[in-house]
Symmetry: C2
Subunit: 419 residues, 2 copies
């Protein structure tokens, strides 16, 4: 198995202006393809820093993926650093120049001098075509180490990885397999979970490693097995996951890349049922998560974000008396929002969320983080009250996760139509 390093280049990554999502994405793709990333290194747009990063990773990695600094502007100097490291100069690549011309022609634009320079690539490199932009990728080799430089623009890099880099790397052959399985839990904290599964954890076979990955409202348990027998590793992991399922069935809601919105959407789609949401403190976040799924229009009707009380009354038919008697943040109002959304959006299931996202707006009785969530189904409504913290962003995410988990619980306990 090739030991792999990722180098991300860009001052914006070191000043905290940009989150390094590229490295995460590349790492996930490499892992799936059986390459083990040992290190991610982020350095600025300075030749000396880039050269130091290349030398340091070349010492122990046999594959180095580089992104950033290949753009058309003057702060992009990765190509020059590579020329220096490989002791060669730039030359024009006629195929790349043709690509760039075509790129602008399709947009009805003329090629500029700046763009023409992008066809210059290090002599010792093989250029990787870029159908989505003007900066080509670069493939170089020194002794037993492969260096691949790609543009930093995420969608250009992603297509280059998927269409060219991964297929070419897979041809280089692999010796070891890495198998992951992630168990997704909700409704329990990291420490409490660790206690609950301590005996199981300590009896895990040596080939399997366990990691706890907590995020707001969700703890992911990742099992990793490494070895040369793919099938054996898979069955080892599956056996342990089965054991885990029997210990904490009520907290597990999915696996690997599952999302709560995807899992619940699948249930609804299979049953031919449609969903709507009525959101106050989540402000459209749940609808946004749902509609980020391609094809969600097949089971999602829409959402009413009723931020103002009048919107709750007018669009969701929540009675002013109910709000007066119980307060806008109450299980009663959450239930009325859910049943109101069911009617207004003409759907079988509806989520109602009302709460105080914070950090302001709380009271002694109902501090920031108080959230009431209801789910209305074809024949009944359930609701629950939650107490989260005072961080607005976390409260919105946790409310979204709790609401989708409650929806899943409700759909699973409801009888299926005609059964």
């Amino acid at each position: 198995m090739m030991d792999t390093a990722i180098i991300s280049i860009g001052n914006e990554l070191l000043t905290g202006q940009t989150v390094n999502t590229n490295a995460t994405w590349i790492a996930s793709r490499l892992n799936l393809a059986g390459f083990s990333v040992k290190e991610i290194l982020v350095v600025g747009d300075e030749e000396s820093e880039i050269l130091r990063a290349i030398s340091s990773t070349a010492e122990h990695a046999s594959l180095v993926l580089i992104t950033g600094g290949l753009g058309p502007t003057r702060d992009d100097i990765t190509k020059h650093a590579l020329c220096k490291y490989f002791n060669c100069s730039l030359q024009q690549d006629p195929d790349v120049l043709k690509d760039i011309r075509g790129f602008f022609l399709r947009r009805g634009l003329d090629i500029t001098e700046l763009n023409r320079l992008q066809a210059m690539v290090p002599e010792k490199a093989t250029a990787l075509r870029n159908p989505n932009g003007t900066a080509p990728g670069l493939w170089l080799r020194q002794n037993n180490t492969i260096f691949i430089a790609m543009p930093g623009v995420p969608f250009e890099m992603k297509e280059m990885m998927d269409q060219q880099v991964i297929p070419a790397l897979e041809k280089q052959g692999r010796k070891q397999f890495i198998i992951h399985k992630t168990v997704l839990t909700q409704g329990i904290g990291e420490s409490a979970l660790a206690e609950l599964i301590a005996v199981w954890e300590s009896s895990l076979p040596e080939t399997i490693q366990l990691a706890y990955l907590p995020s707001p409202g969700i703890v992911r348990l990742r099992l990793t097995a490494k070895g040369d027998k793919q099938q054996l590793l898979k069955s080892l992991i599956n056996r342990e996951v089965e054991k885990l399922r029997s210990i904490i069935p009520e907290f597990i809601w999915g696996y690997d890349d599952d999302t709560l919105e995807g899992v619940t959407g699948k249930i609804l789609k299979q049953r031919g049922l449609r969903l709507g949401t009525a959101e106050s403190c989540t402000g459209g976040y749940i609808a946004h998560r749902i509609t980020s799924i391609p094809g969600s229009s097949e089971w999602f009707n829409g959402c009413v974000v009723a931020y103002a009380n009048r919107a709750k009354e007018k669009l969701l038919n929540v009675s002013p008396e109910l709000i007066r008697n119980h307060g806008a943040v109450s299980r009663e109002v959450a239930e009325a929002m859910a049943t109101g959304a069911q009617k207004a959006l003409n759907c079988d299931y509806a989520i109602g969320v009302t709460g105080i996202a914070g950090p302001g707006g709380g009271s002694m009785e109902k501090p920031a983080g108080t959230v009431c969530i209801a789910v209305a189904g074809p024949s009944s409504v359930i609701s629950r009250k939650y107490q989260f913290g005072d961080n607005r962003e976390r409260n919105i995410i946790r409310s979204g996760n709790a609401a989708l988990a409650l929806l899943k619980e409700k759909t699973e306990s409801d009888p299926e139509k005609g059964k």
Copy 2:
């Protein structure tokens, strides 16, 4: 100025399961405080890798911030690696033990054996208290390098940074200042922008560096100046920003951490006007961005996500004929959605967005990425048609940015009430 390195520890960062937002956040805080981050290093939960990272950063950095691997579970081994590097053993810290006891007492829980172990800290370290969790931070020094280890849970780490680490570091004194100013543009691509400002760019003084930071629909231009005279650097940068404003006034909408939703919200709030949105292809994304701003309820009434055509008709009063004649994705329907939302949500301004988010659902005439956006104001409606690509996530973000930019344009061109 202290050369600074950040080490992020965690297998989940190398397998691509978790985005390294911690490092970005730490870097931004350090930058504000005048520390220059030269390198971010990500390694896995393996003692040898952690030791290698510590040694390698110690070679050139005088400040090393470490996060991750301090939790209560068995895969957390940062403390042990630090003991090895500093050649010391763990000992119980009575203050930390008291903190942990208190943490569980407040939650009505007993302290477990696993939690008790978290009070063990390397002998040579000073513990940093953690009011939000059970893992203390650690402060160590070797020769002229300071090492600070913090938990990987973001909100625990953030409070520790802001309340303890940054104030303590600022006492260590600084010698050099870094001043940033970021100019935010919308409606023009990176290359076109670079051509437009090429003359200005090439005449920038040597102390100022320029970086282009593109993201879907937005290009940020970051100017950075380094030196020992803070006021001089600030006035140098401000002068260049003023020049830039006179070259591309129509594309600039904000500075630094401004967001389109924040900038437009401020205008509405100042004028005492209220907003609503009617979203089809953006599915609540615009409402979610707006409601992520604390206090947005002062100027935001709500949103209708009308995914199904029936919801457009019923809740937004869009006539079925209009949809039949022009198609659901048309400027006419976007305008009707906006004026419908104005009435339904009882607001002064409303955004209407309808489009094909993709990747599926397009046609020859209206391919994926076709989006129509309207903004209804107190006395008139404007609308525009956009052609984005076929990536769903990017299309949703670009639609959101275009809609908020159109709203800003409309509010600025409308006469103020009573004027």
